[in-house]
Every structure is written in C-alpha cells, then in structure tokens.
C-alpha cells in the first residue's frame, strides 16, 4: 500500500490569531498541515520505517562508510534527561556533567590520533574538512606566508575534499595514484612549492590500501612548507594501531558516525571532530572545553582563543552525537579501541580472500586489504554486459545492502566493500555465498540482475523523470 500522511487529514477550523500582534505580521492563508489521529500517525511512520534497510536489520558492506553496529546503550545515555533537557545557554557551573564528558572525549580523541588538541564542534566530516583547511590557511597567514593558495588532493579522494578546499578559497590540484595504489611521488614533487598550502590525504587511501610511503610524503610536503591534512573517513582501519599524528599529519577530522559507532540516521547527524598538532592549536574552531581544575570546566570563547577560525554552528556542535561517541569509547576502553582495527582488518581480508575464491577479481590483488577493498566486475561486464550497478541491485533482493559502487572512479565497474569488525563470520560467509550465486546468475540469467531488485517495495526508479518533473513537495 502506498500510503500518504495527507490522506489522514481531518479538516479543522483555524483558531483566531493573537490580537496584540500587528495584522501585517500574522499568517495570511491558514497553515495546511494534515491533522491526523495519533494512531494513524504512529502506523504511517512505523510502516515507512519498515521500507528501509538499516544496520539493525541488514548487513551493510558499504565501503568508506563504516556501517558498524550502533550500540543501543549509547542512544540511551544521550537520551538521559540530564543531557537532553540542557539548554545551550546554561551557565557552565550548571552543566559540569556535560562539560566533563566533552572534555574527556577531547582528551581521548587526541590520545587515539596522536594529536595535541581537539575541537568537537564540526557537525559532520565535510564541516570538519572545512575547519581543517581553514586552519591550514590561518596558520600560513599568521606567519605572513600569503602566497599558499593551492591544495593538493589525490584524484581518488572523497568528493568532499575538493569541495571543502574550494569552499575555503583554495585552488585544487589533483595528484594521480600509481598502478599499485600508492601516490605518484614524482607528480607530488612536481607540484610542491611556495604556492602549496598542503595536501589532503586519506590513509588507508580510498583505494583500500595503506599508503606505504606516507613518511616520505610528509617529509617532502613539510620541506616545501606545506601541511598535511588527514581525512579520517578510513580511520577504522588503523584505530589504536597507527596514529595519524605519528604519520606526520598536522590536522585531521574524525567521522564519529563511522569510526565511533554513532548512527547514520538515514543521512545524519554526524560529527566531524578535528584534531591538530600543537602549532595549529590556536586556530581550532570554537567552542572547545577547557578544564581549569576538577569541577571547574568551561567553554573557551573568542576572548580565550583570538586566532581561532571561529564558529561553525550556533552552539557547541552535535553534542548528542558526541555523547554517543563518548559512551562507545568508554565501553571499549584502551584494549577495545585497538581491537576495532584488528577485527576490521581480519573481516576485510577474509572477505577479500573468499570472494576471490568464488571468482571475483580484486583491484589490487598484490596488496593487503585495509578495512575495505575494491573488486572490479569488468570481467563480467565484458562477458555479459552486467555492470557493478546490477550486482549491487541484485544484492538488495537477498536482504544485503549494496556496497559502494563506482567509487573510486579510477577503477572501472568497481565495488568498494567494507564489512566492519562487528559482523560475524557467519554473516560474511552468507554474503560470500550470495555473491557466488549472483556471479552464477550473471553468467546464466543476466536479465535477473539487470531487472533487479525484484523483492523490494519499488524497482529501479526513473531518476530522469524525477529531475524533469521535480515533484519535491505535495501540493496543498
């Protein structure tokens, strides 16, 4: 049944509007939202929820997105009234409990990344990137080094990297990767110079392999006066084992909604905390939490940190998400944090091996998988015309979310697969069996894939029609 909330409307008479507000300020046409019975509302949205895939119901091998289990205790803790009812303008002495949690999270994230200081305020990875490149800009300018207007970014980087650099006023220069997945050092060296502000890197890279010459890259970039930005999207691969600070990175963001198990919520809210080396600390976005002594925590403001790049949102960022990340880290502790990357790598390398065994081709077969890996179905495409998209859509029929496809763009017909550490061997084995069956179907009944999915509320949608008609709101 294709239900709409609007069919449940019971028309009502709008109330008389206040008489002590000038008429020209008052609403003209009555507000036209449906007035539905509570039970109808409850059923409508419960039914809609059942049309979703979610981690709580399906396996989500979605590369670069780290769809791990979102522990329910984290949600319960963030929902405690003592946190949920706290107004942002509550004076610091009346919110010491919250400030203590946020201060601890700052400290723990600094320890986990090998950085000197952290600001938790960015609302998402992309806002963290923007804050990070803005700090790079502010750093150079504070030294009177005004000519550095270029940002180097690998061709295979996440799309947010060039978009954030551009938003911070940088010109983007793309650096290619070599056939083995590592960065092209010769191309890097050719671009380094007094006009380069820095480089934005993900390590392990978006190709699912560790950038082995990272120390050399850091040395070259630093020697040329540039800084290194670490995109934390793939931090799950090395959490507790390799610290970005140790690799030579100066500034980074963390995707708490990936590595630290906070929910994706159907597309947000995330949290994109930024961490920096000491020389960038004066530029961190505000507010941050400062501990003067036990029970005397407070927010830092522009008066304390005059060189800060400023504020990215009206208050302290996505605090409810930060509470969840804090609960997750506290539950795991030192040993548990280190196990994250260990078992993420175990699951990824096992899955890669098993999928190769059933006939799939790895994009970088000579390399270890990190926490994720890339398959290419170019061979199937040549043999049958089947594309990565068709494999992805067919997976949905088996109750498995599609992997990331066509990213990174430089590997043709690619699937980027990330199982995460929270999936069991049994789940991985079932995935392998389904993938084997799909491969068989591709060779024997390719139309089964081309027309997939068959068992979901809708089949493939006409996206061209969607853009042409642009029906983006129910007309009143």
């Amino acid at each position: 049944m294709n239900d709409s909330i609007f069919v449940h409307d019971h028309p009502t008479t709008p109330p008389a509007l206040p008489t002590d507000i000038p008429a020209e300020c008052l609403r003209q046409a009555p507000l036209n939202l449906p007035n539905a019975a509570e039970l109808d509302v409850l059923r409508h949205y419960t039914r809609l929820s059942q049309k979703n895939f979610a981690i709580d119901t399906q396996f989500y091998p979605l590369g670069s997105c780290t769809m791990k289990y979102n522990p329910r205790i984290a949600h319960a803790m963030a929902s405690l009234p003592g946190f949920a009812r706290l107004h942002p303008d509550t004076p610091a002495p009346a919110m010491q409990g919250l400030l203590q949690v946020l201060w601890e999270l700052q400290e723990w994230l600094a320890a986990a990344t090998g950085m000197a200081a952290v600001s938790l305020t960015p609302a998402a990875g992309a806002q963290g990137e923007l804050a990070g490149v803005a700090m790079i800009r502010a750093y150079h300018q504070s030294r009177g080094d005004h000519g550095r207007n270029k940002m180097l970014i690998p061709t295979a980087a996440h799309g947010t990297n060039p978009a954030s650099a551009q938003m911070a006023g940088f010109e983007v220069i793309e650096i290619p990767n070599l056939a083995d997945g590592d960065l092209d050092m010769a191309a890097l060296d050719a671009h380094l110079g007094p006009d380069v502000a820095g480089i934005m890197l993900t390590n392990p890279s978006t190709l699912g392999v560790f950038e082995r010459r990272i120390a050399e890259i850091a040395q070259h970039v630093h020697a040329a006066g540039g800084l290194l930005y670490y995109d934390g999207a793939n931090l799950n691969a090395i959490l507790g084992r390799v610290q970005p600070g140790q690799m030579g990175f100066d500034v980074m963001h963390l995707n708490l909604h990936k590595t630290f198990a906070t929910p994706h919520g159907g597309g947000g809210p995330g949290a994109g905390a930024v961490a920096v080396q000491a020389r960038l600390q004066p530029f961190l976005p505000l507010p941050t939490v400062h501990k003067e002594g036990p029970g005397t925590l407070r927010w830092l403001s522009e008066l304390d940190v005059p060189q800060s790049i400023g504020r990215l949102s009206a208050h302290g960022g996505n605090i409810g998400v930060l509470l969840r990340a804090h609960a997750y880290m506290r539950r795991l502790g030192r040993a548990g944090v280190r196990r994250v990357s260990a078992y993420a790598a175990l699951n990824a390398n096992y899955l890669l091996k098993e999928l190769q065994r059933v006939g799939y081709q790895a994009a970088f077969p000579q390399r270890r998988a990190s926490h994720e890996f890339i398959l290419s179905v170019s061979d199937l495409h040549k043999a049958t015309g089947i594309r990565a998209l068709d494999v992805a859509k067919r997976l949905l029929d088996f109750g498995i979310h599609a992997p990331t496809i066509y990213f990174p763009q430089l590997v043709p017909e690619c699937l980027l697969i990330e199982p995460t550490e929270t999936e069991s061997k049994a789940t991985l084995d079932r995935f392998v069996a389904v993938m084997a069956q799909i491969r068989q179907e591709a060779l024997e009944q390719p139309e089964l894939l081309r027309e997939a999915p068959h068992h979901l509320p809708v089949g493939r949608l006409d996206e061209a029609l969607a853009a042409r008609r642009l029906d983006v709101a129910a007309l009143s």
Binding site: T90, M95, G268
Partner: protein, 446 residues
C-alpha cells in the same frame, strides 16, 4: 569483546583462510615504526558501570525550569516522536543512495519538504542542513550564486550574535563582504540605509531581541534595490506569523531557520537541523539533498534523491556546497512531530507560547524598578531591563532552579541589566508566578 562477535576458533579459521599466522600480520604493509603500542586511554567499562557513570554525569547538570531562548527552545515533544524516530530502521539506516532500499527515509524526507514548503509558503525545501546558523551561511552563498556579481551581504546587527559569528567564519573564507546594518536602539528594530550594493538582505523575523520586524517593508526595500531577501524564521512561529513567501509584494526569495523547535531535544546545543526553502526558479542553486517523487519500471510510485549533479560526490570542487550529510534523523523526528501536532497542534503551541510571554511580561511590569527597553510586538521572547546586573540575577536564580534568561551583556549588547526572557507552552501559570516571586525577592534583596 564488546561488539565483536568472533570466537577464537572462528578467528583462527579466518586467519588460515587468509594465509597468515596472526592479526598483526595483516598490518605488515605498515612500517613498524609507525605502529603505536599502548594508547593513553582508560580501561573499558561494562554496560552497567558505564550507565552508572553517565547517569551520575547527567545528574551533575542542574535540572532547571527554562526561561531561556536565544535560538534554542524548550518545547513539549510527544512521546511517539522519538519512539518512532529511534526505531532501528530509521536510526541505523544509511543515506538513501540506494532508493529501492530506502523508501521509508525518502518518503519521510518528501513529507518533510512538503511540510516546510507549507510553513514557509515557498515552493522548494531541501532535505535539511546542519543547523540554522550554518544554514544561513549556505543561504548567503546561494544568494551570491544567483546574483553572480555582488560579493556582499547585508547582515542586521540584531541577528543572533552566534549566527553572525558563523557567517564571519564561513563566508570570511571566501572573502565575502558582510555589511552590518544597525538597529535603532530605541525600538530594537532594523534601520535600513538609503541604498546598498549587495546580493541580499538578511531579514530576521523574529530578531535577536524577540521583536517582530516590519517584514513587508524590509522585503520590498530589498527588491526595489535589486537585492534578494533572505528570511530567517522560527518554524513554530510560522504557525501564526506571516509566511516568508507572503512577505511584501513578491515574497522573500529564500527562507532559512533553526529547526530545533520542531521536536528536537535541547541537548546542550545539538544536534539540531537547519531548514532552507526557496522559489522553484532557484532549485539548481540549492545546497544539500533534495528528494523527488517518481515511478519505477512498472509505474509504481517511489521516491529518490534528485538534482544530485549539484552535490560534492558528483561535482566535487564545483559543487554548490561541500555538504555531504543532512540531519536525517532530526528531520525524521521533526516530520513525525509536525504530523502528530498537525496545523492545529502547532498553532495551539505557538499561541500558548505567545500568551505565556504576554502574561509573564504583565506580571513583571508590576514590579518596581523593572522596565522594558523595547515596546514592539513579540512572539515568545522579550528583553527586560533589571535594576541589577543581569548576569548576577541569572546566576542567583539558578540556585532556585530557574534558568532566568540570557543576559544581553554576554553578547556585548544592551545595558548590564538587560535579560532576554523566553516562555514556551511548557511553562504553566504557577511557573510564571514562581518566576515573578523569585525576581521580586531578588530585586528587594540588598
């Protein structure tokens, strides 16, 4: 091992299948000198110990009756709103890039967009932005793209100062000029210059002092000079206040605001969500995600993301914004909240907020030494001028379980006795009387 399901036999079998001896071998491509030993983190806790520790922390925050607003408002949220929003199928779902597996989230977003267009009387709403303040920065960038040539924006000085700071940080990166427009210190209302060269004028309705601006005149002023009008609005207030699409002769061009009053808990400042609506003509300059209705191969109705060519994962450095996420879960809650209240419930809530504000103001007017610096109409928030330092008063009333408001001196505005006070439907007559009595004894004390 919390949240890791492997038993030792399974781990051994997986290592054997890979062909390595140990998990450490899986990291053999990483130079060993880069591999850290022990991190400086505390030991892990059981779920039971974790709950106890965090319940203590939550209790260490004072439980206060809230008379503070300033962009974040304490409202009643029906129980079913977060019961449904926190269902795992919404809570733990990914961004709806696979529409066939995300029809739930996509239809919720379509309904959300429908509700926002109705509240604002504009044609298109995106699927949300991070928060109101960053949403306003995006709205300014959008106006600059539409206008093309002018690289400046008129920003009222009676816009919330935290929002102004966000504009400074985000727009400052692109060398966009923010031209301050002063307010009249006797009325608290915007004072427009004769003329201005800029892409847009920001019109805050309600302004930072809680006052209602003459939005028709402001919008017409902007349009007469070739500027776009960017409305900054409180979504709950739109249940009774004029919708931005109806402002002036032609209506505002873009409406943006903080979505928190629509079912989002305060949680110390976030996560909230920003909403942004505009005219259809400007759809291709809209930042953020957008959901459209369409059909599948069998003609069945369905929903998908659309106009994705604007976004960073396609256009990369040439995208309309670097934004990748929206605030999906917050918008899910807001949609359920709006559907639960309906237009009737939203209007009742808005009317009650306003009635409480009028009532509390009348109660305080009778106290000696208290004045109200601005006489204009308000929605649910106003400035009171106390004969004592407002920070001192606020801090003293904390001990009586009241968050009395926001001292304007903390913003660097107004007189030292100025306190911004807000009332919502959560406050009952007894709370208003308690507030008056607390204020009376405060003022009588030497």
């Amino acid at each position: 091992m919390p949240y890791i399901p492997h038993d030792p036999e399974e781990t051994a079998a997986m290592l054997a299948a890979i062909g390595v001896e140990s998990i450490d071998d899986l990291f053999d491509e990483i130079p060993s000198r880069l591999q850290a030993q022990d991190l400086d983190l505390p030991e892990g806790l059981s779920e039971m110990a974790l709950r106890r520790e965090l319940e203590d922390r939550a209790m260490a925050n004072s439980s206060l009756r809230c008379f503070a607003g300033g962009g974040a408002y304490a409202h009643h949220i029906p129980a079913l709103v977060w019961d449904i929003a926190a269902r795992g199928e919404f809570y733990s779902a990914y961004t709806p890039y696979q529409p066939e597996a995300s029809q739930g989230t996509l239809q919720v977003l379509y309904e959300y967009q429908s509700f926002i267009t109705r509240l604002t009387a504009l044609e298109i709403s995106n699927a949300s932005l991070y928060d109101g303040a960053s949403g306003l920065a995006e709205a300014c960038l959008m106006a600059l793209r539409i206008r093309g040539s002018d690289q400046s924006i008129l920003v009222p000085e009676n816009l919330l100062p935290s929002w102004r700071r966000v504009l400074d940080s985000v727009l400052g990166l692109q060398n966009i000029r923010l031209i301050s427009v002063p307010y009249d210190t006797t009325t608290g209302l915007l004072q427009l210059p004769e003329d201005a060269n800029a892409a847009a004028l920001i019109v805050p309705q309600i302004n930072a002092f809680g006052l209602l601006e003459p939005v028709d005149a402001l919008t017409d002023w902007a349009h007469a000079r070739g500027l776009l009008s960017i409305a900054v609005v409180n979504p709950l207030s739109l249940a009774i206040l004029k919708a931005p699409g109806d402002w002036g002769q032609q209506g505002a061009d873009i409406a943006v605001g903080e979505g928190q009053p629509l079912g989002i808990p305060l949680t110390g400042g976030g996560p909230y969500f920003g909403f942004l609506a505009c005219r259809k003509a400007h759809a291709r300059q809209l930042p953020g995600r957008l959901v459209a209705k369409t059909v599948d191969g069998q003609g069945r109705e369905g929903y998908c993301l659309t106009l994705q060519a604007r976004e960073q994962h396609i256009r990369r450095g040439k995208a309309t914004s670097n934004i990748c996420t929206n605030q999906g879960l917050m918008v899910t809650a807001a949609t359920i909240h709006m559907a639960t209240l309906g237009s009737q419930g939203l209007q009742e809530a808005a009317m009650t907020c306003h009635a409480r504000a009028s009532r509390l103001r009348a109660l305080l007017e009778a106290l000696p030494g208290i004045t109200f610096p601005y006489a204009g109409a308000f929605f649910h928030e106003w400035v009171v001028r106390l004969p004592k330092d407002a920070v001192f008063v606020r801090d003293t009333l904390l001990k009586q379980g009241l968050l009395a408001g926001i001292p304007l001196s903390e913003w660097g505005e107004g007189a030292s006795g100025d306190l911004l006070v807000c009332t919502t439907e959560l406050l009952e007559e007894s709370d208003l009387l308690t507030y008056r009595e607390a204020m009376r004894s405060m003022l009588e004390a030497q």
